[in-house]
């Protein structure tokens, strides 16, 4: 195989891994604060739609990203209200949220699309970022903007979590809410903020899917990518650096599935589409029992 093929494949892997990276970071941020962010799949789907709509109706894909971020904040508010403040069960709430967002996104899309014409979003690239960035963006052109953002965030979160004071506080809330509370931290506030951030990251994952890859919206188009991100967090033992490689692995599965299909290897195409999911299952099975933050999933009740 040619060098070009490999370079091409690597870019395809990065492209497929970007949405996973955002989602996985969104899950990791929450779990480190003690929240199981099952709703990441729903945030992603909502973000995907918001990004398409924002980009199509303003004509600027960067405003599509902004729309996704706003949608993520909204999703985070709902989830935080329910799982942190009520507090409802985190898993049940997450699942319900995912189901609702499948319905709501499909409904909104149908309301806005007339006569069955697909909305095609312009794809996000450095060109629209504004002329003053030109000298910088020319060099970066090969890496899509959202992929770059994801890479920066992975490094940033890694450093923040494990080398700074706030990182220690953040991890403490996830490991022992009691200890954090006793130390004067507001567990509820930290967890809400984590959930807001986690949902925004999930929505950005959706935006990366639509603005960076498939330029339109399809019902339930995320197809469990949020959950693959969740698996990447487990596989990466709740560390951003290891999680990054897990996302690359799963991204490679997806990229490979498309490639093999395109090359027409003769198998039923559904086998290829299964690949990323089988890979995920196998990876999680190999890891076996993994211990995450101790208080993840346990609601915190004051007093």
């Amino acid at each position: 195989m040619e060098l070009d093929w490999w370079l091409d494949f690597l870019l395809a892997v990065l492209r497929a891994a970007t949405p996973l990276l955002f989602c996985a970071l969104g899950v990791l941020a929450c779990e480190r604060a003690g929240i199981l962010n099952i709703g990441v799949e729903g945030s992603m789907l909502a973000g995907a739609l918001a990004a398409v709509l924002g980009a199509v109706f303003t004509g600027n894909p960067w405003l599509g990203v902004a729309a996704a971020i706003l949608t993520g904040l909204l999703a985070g508010l709902v989830l935080a209200g329910m799982t942190v403040y009520l507090p409802a069960d985190q898993i049940a709430t997450g699942i319900a949220f995912n189901l609702v967002s499948i319905g709501v996104t499909s409904f909104i899309y149908r309301l806005l699309v007339e006569g069955g014409v697909r909305l095609m979003a312009p794809s996000l690239n450095w060109g629209q970022a504004g002329g003053w960035l030109e000298p910088l963006t020319a060099r970066l052109a090969i890496i899509p903007p959202l992929t770059l953002l994801a890479l920066i965030l992975v490094i940033g979160v890694q450093v923040l979590l494990f080398s700074t004071g706030p990182g220690l506080l953040w991890r403490s809330v996830g490991e022992s809410a009691r200890a954090a509370h006793a130390a004067g931290l507001s567990v509820l506030r930290v967890r809400s903020l984590a959930l807001l951030g986690g949902s925004v990251l999930g929505a950005l994952g959706g935006a990366a899917l639509t603005l960076g890859w498939v330029p339109t919206f399809v019902d339930n188009m995320t197809m469990g990518r949020g959950f693959i991100g969740l698996a990447a967090v487990y596989f990466g033992r709740w560390r951003p650096d290891l999680m990054f490689f897990a996302c690359l692995l799963f991204g490679a599965g997806e990229a490979l599935a498309f490639r093999a299909q395109a090359m027409g290897a003769g198998l039923n195409p559904y086998y290829y589409l299964m690949l990323p999911y089988v890979l995920t299952l196998a990876a999680v099975a190999i890891v076996g029992m993994a211990m995450g933050p101790r208080d993840a999933g346990k609601p915190f009740l004051r007093g």
Binding site: G165, L168, E175, A180, A182, G184
Partner: protein
């Protein structure tokens, strides 16, 4: 925030609580309690389970808001926004019975955590480390600063908690039952540490129900009973007997009237060469043989971790024995399921009721019949008979003096002593043939302990064979016909009630003497 390496007396605060009332539903946990603690004293707060000791201190620490009453710190009344955070910045620190530590983080990280601020991205790790190291040495702690808290001993974890408080500049330390989790040696070390803290000008409030500790460490003793403050007296002007009398309402005489039943000569439970454990490791139970007759109480003594737990669990079927036989009234039950063992009259009081003694979210009435839920009168054709359950619960509540608003509250709402009464009541109900009782009075107050001991003796005199595992030698001496001493999975000694001798038992427990 400036860190004070030697937070000495000028920061010590006087605490005044006046007319504090706090109710939980219909229960008055605190009934107009007024308490003053002077700077630089060690105050013991004693009382039975549920007397309100912990509640009073959580009010002081800002974790609970009182219904009524005033709180003055250093002469100034605190506002409605009194919270643990404010208490801490006023120099008050509280160490709870269950530690507030992060097990997966290091000792240093745990000590630093409360000092960190969200806005301070890069704390001065090196300076913090030096200060913590210095403080740790000053109090004679040998803590591995980079070791994970989950991997060090409970005694050391407690030191981490103390260090954490001191590092925050606490000069008023509240300790809730600090010795409940400690070995006797660790307890002595802790009590000595309290003296050092006082010498540095700190104030300590020691919540305990063990009078010996209160007298060993405290300057003054305050007695609470059923939410009311009974008295505060200087240690030197009173006696343990007088304080014990103030703690319980009934007239209390030091010993319970326990007349052991005359034991019979036949055997009810015979254990032969029982082995528990895995290959390539030290066996947990290494060939234990013992026999108990009806109407007999046999004690098992030993330092924790010498195979007692494993032996008890193998007898009730929670563990699979590798070899050996267990014969109950002539029937070999080695291969029986737990359910079948229960049906044949074997009962179990587990050493940790939270782990396998009760279901905290089920009600008292439900917990009481957990082991009999499939047999009449509690169920008929698979349907529970709530009325029969209610009757049994009402009987137990009256019989065992369980303090509860109703038989239908979840077990988790009861105090520890009352939970244990229910666990014991369940084991002793319906005429057991053999009772495996593990640490039945651990952590209980005087009257609950006395009551449960009396019940065990009564159960034996009604014909049961009782195997009693206890870490309190006094308890074994008081209750048992015979005593076995375990060391490294073996029975290294057997003594008859006529020659019980604490010194010899102690030597046997450390593996130095065999009978």
């Amino acid at each position: 925030m400036p860190i004070n390496l030697n937070p000495i007396s000028d920061t010590a605060v006087a605490v005044q609580m006046e007319g504090i009332c706090k109710s939980f539903g219909p229960v008055k946990a605190l009934d107009s309690v007024s308490l003053t603690v002077e700077p630089g004293e060690i105050r013991a707060l004693v009382g039975e389970n549920g007397a309100g000791k912990t509640t009073l201190m959580t009010v002081l620490y800002g974790m609970l808001r009182p219904d009524r009453g005033q709180l003055r710190i250093a002469g100034r009344e605190v506002g409605r926004d009194w919270s643990p955070k404010r208490a801490m910045s006023a120099g008050i620190g509280m160490i709870h019975q269950h530690f507030s530590l992060v097990p997966n983080h290091t000792v240093l990280e745990n000590v630093l955590m409360p000092q960190l601020r969200w806005t301070r991205l890069r704390p001065e790790w090196a300076r913090h480390r030096k200060t913590v190291q210095g403080l740790s040495e000053q109090y004679g702690f040998a803590l591995p600063l980079d070791g994970q808290v989950g991997a060090i001993s409970v005694g050391q974890q407690q030191q981490v908690e103390i260090l954490k408080m001191l590092y925050q500049g606490a000069s008023f330390l509240i300790m809730d039952e600090p010795t409940a989790v400690l070995t006797p040696q660790q307890t002595d070390a802790l009590l000595a540490l309290l003296g050092r803290l006082r010498a540095q000008g700190h104030t300590v409030v020691l919540i305990t129900h063990k009078l010996a500790e209160a007298f060993a460490a405290a300057d003054n003793i305050t007695v609470l009973r059923r939410g009311k403050l009974i008295t505060t007296v200087p240690c030197e002007h009173t006696t343990p007997q007088a304080v014990a009398g103030a703690m319980v309402e009934r007239d209390w005489s030091g010993d319970v009237d326990l007349r052991l039943p005359e034991r019979e000569t036949s055997w009810r439970l015979e254990v032969k060469d029982l082995v528990v454990g895995e290959d390539h490791r030290q066996l947990e139970v290494d060939g234990v043989s013992l026999a108990i007759g009806p109407r007999e109480i046999v004690g098992v003594a030993g330092v924790a971790g010498n195979g007692q737990t494993e032996l008890a669990e193998a007898l009730v079927g929670l563990r699979i024995a590798r070899a050996g036989t267990v014969v109950l009234a002539g029937q070999d039950l080695s291969a029986w399921s737990i359910a079948r063992r229960l049906q044949s009259g074997l009962r179990y009081i587990p050493e940790n009721r939270h782990l396998n003694g009760m279901v905290a979210d089920l009600t008292l009435a439900e917990n009481l019949i957990l082991d009999r839920s499939e047999s009449p009168p509690f169920s008929a054709r698979g349907v529970l008979n709530r009325r029969a359950m209610g009757r049994a619960a009402a009987e137990t509540i009256a019989d065992y003096d369980v303090r509860t608003p109703s038989p239908d509250v979840p077990m988790s709402h009861l105090s520890g002593g009352n939970q244990q009464r229910v666990v014991v009541a369940r084991a002793l109900a319906s005429r057991p043939r053999v009772v495996i009782a593990c640490q039945p009075t651990r952590g209980l107050d005087i009257s609950a302990t006395a009551y449960i001991r009396k019940r065990l003796v009564q159960c034996a005199s009604e014909g049961a064979a009782i195997l009693l595992f206890s870490s309190e030698i006094e308890e074994l001496i008081q209750l048992c016909h015979r005593m076995l001493v375990m060391y490294r999975g073996r029975v290294v000694g057997e003594l008859d009630a006529s020659n019980f001798d604490t010194a010899i038992i102690g030597l046997m427990m450390s593996g130095q003497v065999a009978s």
